[in-house]
């Protein structure tokens, strides 16, 4: 009984610590990419492209908020590539000596308004038409929120949102479900929401750009593969995929 219990505990500990053995005999290399949530669609498809041109390589992604990913890298999370959704978060990573070399700018994103299909609240832009309406934006501490604040300042409007979300996807969800009358999101989010929402352009939106940067993580054991992934993203294939999703190219 005791022995069985010890064996089970040991097994549980072991299986939690060691990776499962690969099914095939050929050694597979794993490339771990930490990328901002807003890149999940484009990077997943670029990962497939990369695996296609690099037999024996598996690309694994961890998509999360840029600041969460920086925190995880600081704690020693094993990653080969890091892609941030804004410059301040990439700067946090470079000043902590987490990156090797200078990260490269590979895309920018601008803001737009989305409204429920048919625009029931009659929103015309980031102007007086949102006054008294249920407007949802990102909170000031997160990249899309900082961009929203900057743009509102530029336009000289004071926003009175009913909710300030931590994730841009939560803004999307609230507009898609019709809870909110309008939401300020990235152009790429508006595109991803597709026919569930109508998009209303914001005047001078191109003046506030969110910059996406990526680079090789300093502790990467596959730094050559990692640079090749960076090259794919910044190369013509990557740029085509990104612009197809609504990103602006640098």
């Amino acid at each position: 009984m005791i022995r069985a219990l010890v064996a089970v505990t040991a097994l549980a500990l072991l299986s939690a610590c060691t990776p499962a053995p690969a099914p095939s005999t050929a050694p597979r290399t794993e490339l771990v990419v930490f990328a901002a949530s807003s890149l999940s669609d484009t990077y997943t498809s670029l990962g497939k492209t990369f695996e296609g041109s690099h037999p024996g390589v598996t690309v694994k992604f961890s998509f999360d908020g840029s600041s969460t990913l920086v925190d995880q890298l600081k704690q020693g999370a094993p990653a080969d590539v890091f892609a941030a959704a804004d410059r301040p978060n990439m700067t946090k990573a470079t000043t902590a000596n987490l990156m090797s070399g200078t990260p490269s700018l590979f895309a920018t994103n601008t803001l737009t308004i989305i409204v429920p299909k048919g625009n029931p609240a009659g929103i015309t832009g980031l102007d007086s038409s949102v006054d008294g309406k249920k407007l949802v934006i990102c909170a000031d501490g997160v990249p899309c929120g900082s961009a929203t604040t900057k743009l509102a300042k530029l336009l000289g409007v004071t926003l009175k949102p009913v909710s300030q979300e931590t994730k841009v996807t939560d803004v999307r969800a609230k507009v898609e479900s019709g809870q909110a009358d309008a939401g300020v999101v990235y152009v790429t989010d508006a595109k991803a929401s597709g026919s569930k929402v109508d998009t209303i352009a914001i005047k001078n939106a191109d003046q506030v750009k969110n910059e996406y940067l990526l680079g090789v993580v300093a502790t990467s054991k596959n730094s050559r593969l990692a640079s090749q992934f960076v090259a794919l993203v910044t190369g013509s294939d990557g740029q085509r995929t990104l612009s197809g999703a609504g990103f602006t190219l640098p």
Binding site: A139, V162, D170, S177
Partner: protein
């Protein structure tokens, strides 16, 4: 009669479990920036979040008591298949992932939902209001009260109630003078549990009510947001939440000990 001792080897896994549960909490206390703690906690966003949390949790706990207690009484008496189904349904929100609870509320009470549309016809619009926070908290917390009170009532002996009724007491008098006083420890601990659950509510609030300072941004939501930009504030607020929760659990265990000695 002396109970036989537990096998000695049990101490090893039990010790491991204790270490596993306690280490992260101690680590958090170690990371607190004690020097700046007062100023971190005095920020307007933190103060607003703390007051909002306490206000909404009080409101939802009262709702849990007013509505959950009668439900527990009815379920404890009910017999048969429907009663079993009722018990399962009443405890379901307890095991739902909070974000699912939030989605369920959205589908039922959202502006586009059938019930939500009828409510807005009466001029009630829950979307992005403090009331929506209370609704979300009550939905996830009430089962804790119902389950703990119902369990206590079912295992309670009925002869006091029978005696009171034989002596001519009306059903309301029996309830007020016999049933409820006997269940008081369970009601108190169930209330504390419901309050604690409401205090920790995050997913359903975020999904259903949104997040705005002073209106819907409760303590857990503020912690989640602060984590994005300022880990020190997030940890300071987490410690406050931890201390309140620990106090509530202490109250709960005191009451359950009282119950243990009387029954």
């Amino acid at each position: 009669m002396i109970r036989p001792a537990l096998p000695r080897w049990l101490a090893v896994p039990a010790g491991l479990a204790a270490v596993f549960l306690v280490v992260p909490l101690i680590a958090m206390f170690g990371r607190v920036d004690w020097l700046h703690l007062p100023s971190l906690l005095a920020s307007p966003a933190a103060v607003d979040a703390l007051w909002l949390s306490l206000r909404t949790c009080l409101a939802s706990t009262v709702l849990c008591l007013v509505l959950g207690l009668p439900l527990a009484l009815v379920l404890a008496r009910a017999r048969g298949r429907w009663a079993t189904a009722g018990r399962v349904l009443a405890s379901l929100p307890m095991v739902l992932p909070p974000v699912v609870a939030g989605l369920a509320l959205l589908v039922a009470l959202g502006r586009r939902a059938w019930l939500g549309r009828h409510l807005s016809a009466f001029g009630i619009d829950l979307a992005f209001t403090t009331a929506a926070v209370v609704v979300a908290q009550t939905f996830v917390a009430m089962p804790y009260l119902v389950v703990s009170v119902e369990g206590a009532l079912r295992s309670a002996q009925e002869h006091y109630e029978v005696a009171a009724a034989t002596l001519g007491a009306s059903p309301t008098t029996v309830l007020r003078r016999v049933t409820l006083p006997l269940a008081a420890p369970a009601i108190a601990s169930g209330t504390a549990l419901a309050f604690a659950r409401a205090l920790g509510e995050f997913g359903a609030t975020l999904t259903f009510a949104g997040s705005l300072q002073g209106t819907t941004q409760t303590l857990p939501l503020e912690i989640y947001l602060a984590r994005e930009s300022d880990t020190n504030t997030a940890i300071a607020l987490s410690v406050v939440l931890l201390i309140i929760a620990a106090g509530l659990i202490a109250v709960t265990s005191v009451f359950s000990r009282v119950k243990g000695t009387t029954s």
